[in-house]
């Protein structure tokens, strides 16, 4: 977007054209007490050189040279310069949500390819053009289940990402939707018996994440059967999309809510992300957001159109299926390019590396006296371990060694103190894992 500064004489000219003398007079309809009497509390203008220096300083705050074992919803994966090169093409980078969609054939085709990839990964029949992130996608999936079933209670796994649960609670706060949390077993997976006991005829959906927040992979089949048995839908959230390179797609789910950040989006300052909602075709009219479709023009040539826009807020107002229609087109494009570069084999290989390295890290950590695996369920690239002392203290020691330590599980699960959620991806080398394990061993050996 261009920034066009105005000179004082241009301002005067504009004011004169509409018949007022000053900016103050322009805003005179705003009552006196509501007008700001002092300048905005903002830093002053900077020269071009100063702006560049400012951003170089901010860029230097990035944790370059650090090795990270932090995941918990944001994952560090290899990215190709090809992705950035395509993202930075002006046609993609500067274009906004196409409201006159069909003139933007390139954007629509990119969205169509993204949807196709997301369907293949999730085992679902339709996927939307993306949403803000995994948390809003999960909430939208629940609202969709509510519309489809006409029921007002939802069973949510306590092992669903804590921030996803928080977003859902915010939406539910004034809508009348009742949320019931279901705990986890010693395996770290959702307690199926507790789900069965809580299922009643007013439950619209069972929401489970897989791999869940503790890293545990859920057994979705029995959960789907239980939910369907009482007329509820199964919503599966996927926070680590790369897991689908090796884990069976959640085809049993009625709605899949996914975070696609792992595909080509760097974890810089925690964003931006790209959410996805995928579902069965019969539910498509309650799916939030937009959908690009492939068709043929009057001469039989392939073309792309925006379908289902009739249910978006700029047409349907308060009856829209969602009030966040803006898709993350650029982020979705990054995911599309990234996945296309990897291909089916590459994706699987990358996933296998995550699995193998995480397994190795766990085995090495368990050699340290007092370090125990918390949950027995299979995991992908994240697992929970118990340390004999505070994870925060251990992390402080690790940071000195330029290692960003694991997530402090006790900070959001009071019942799980001294638990660390360790993430190991393909970006982590064997030497780095060994250095991390040595760092943990060293930190635990420090006198208190």
């Amino acid at each position: 977007m261009r920034y066009l500064p105005k000179s004082p004489s241009e301002r005067q000219e504009m004011l004169a054209a509409i018949g007022v003398k000053s900016i103050e007079e322009l805003f005179s309809s705003i009552p006196e007490p509501y007008r700001l009497k002092k300048p905005l509390n903002l830093p002053g203008p900077l020269s071009e050189t100063e702006v560049i220096q400012y951003f170089q300083a901010r860029a230097a705050e990035n944790s370059a040279g650090y090795t990270s074992f932090l995941g918990a919803g944001v994952y560090n994966h290899l990215r190709s310069v090809v992705t950035d090169t395509i993202l930075q093409r002006g046609e993609f980078l500067t274009s906004y949500t196409p409201y006159q969609a069909e003139i933007s054939q390139g954007t629509l085709q990119a969205i169509f390819e993204f949807q196709t990839l997301m369907c293949q990964l999730t085992g679902q029949e339709v996927a939307n053009a993306s949403m803000y992130d995994g948390s809003t996608a999960t909430t939208e999936a629940v609202l969709m289940a509510e519309r489809l079933t006409g029921r007002r209670r939802v069973l949510v796994a306590r092992s669903l990402h804590p921030e996803y649960r928080e977003v859902l609670r915010t939406y539910a706060k004034n809508s009348g939707l009742k949320i019931e949390e279901i705990s986890y077993t010693a395996m770290g997976t959702l307690d199926l018996n507790a789900v069965k006991a809580a299922l009643r005829e007013d439950v619209c959906a069972v929401v489970v994440q897989s791999p869940n927040f503790f890293g545990a992979i859920e057994n979705l089949g029995p959960l789907a059967d239980a939910a369907h048995g009482s007329g509820a839908l199964l919503v599966v959230a996927v926070a680590e999309a790369l897991s689908l390179g090796i884990v069976k797609p959640p085809a049993e789910a009625d709605i899949v809510a996914m975070e696609a950040q792992s595909f080509g989006l760097a974890p810089s300052y925690g964003g931006p992300f790209a959410g996805v909602v995928a579902t069965r075709e019969k539910f498509v009219r309650q799916m939030p957001g937009r959908l690009a479709g492939q068709t043929a023009d009057q001469d039989g040539r392939r073309g792309f159109v925006l379908t289902l826009a009739t249910r978006e807020q700029h047409i349907r107002r308060e009856k829209a299926t969602s009030n966040i229609c803006t898709n993350q087109a650029l982020c979705a494009l990054a995911a599309t390019v990234h996945l296309t570069l990897l291909g089916k084999e590459g994706l699987r290989e990358m996933a296998e590396q995550n699995l193998a390295k995480a397994q190795f890290a766990l085995e090495e950590l368990e050699k340290i006296p007092g370090v125990r695996r918390t949950f027995s369920a299979p995991f992908f690239n994240e697992f929970t371990v118990e340390l004999p002392r505070s994870v925060k203290l251990v992390n402080a020691e690790l940071l000195r060694e330029k290692i960003v330590g694991p997530f402090v599980v006790g900070s959001v699960y009071p019942e799980l103190t001294k638990r660390a959620l360790v993430c190991v991806t393909e970006t982590t080398t064997r030497a780095e894992i060994e250095r991390f394990v040595a760092g943990v061993r060293h930190a635990l050996a420090q006198p208190l």
Partner: protein
């Protein structure tokens, strides 16, 4: 297209064809024309209660999704299953094959507050005059 004499009409462009306490309900030729090609219809299942003036479903055309308002109160006996695969019946035969639901009337006296064909014709003519003004 002529508006059938035995029907009653609403300002939201629904029609009711009532007989012996039961009624068929649909949208008028004017409504289908305004909507354009209908691509999907959402209808309530049998047993659902209709409340006069409240929405009970929606019609999706290529241009928009529009709510359908119940012209009278009652209970749905049947939804037109043919519309699931052939929603275009609403465009081709809005007053016949394109009916939406059959309902058992809760209060037949409500029919008296609706327009007859002549009044609806005049109402449409007024609308069209406004639109071309």
């Amino acid at each position: 297209m002529a508006y059938p004499k035995q029907f009653r009409y609403t300002k939201e462009h629904e029609w009711v064809d009532a007989k012996d306490g039961n009624a068929r309900i649909g949208i008028t030729d004017y409504a289908q024309h305004e909507l354009g090609d209908v691509v999907f219809v959402e209808l309530p299942p049998a047993g659902k209660q209709l409340a006069s003036g409240k929405t009970f479903g929606s019609v999706e055309s290529v241009k928009a999704v529009s709510d359908i308002y119940a012209p009278v109160s009652g209970e749905v006996i049947e939804a037109n299953a043919a519309l699931q695969n052939k929603p275009e019946l609403i465009n081709t035969d809005p007053h016949g094959e394109g009916w939406l639901v059959k309902a058992k009337l809760a209060n037949p006296a409500e029919l008296n507050s609706l327009m007859d064909a002549a009044a609806y014709d005049a109402y449409i003519a007024e609308k069209q005059k406004e639109a071309s003004a």
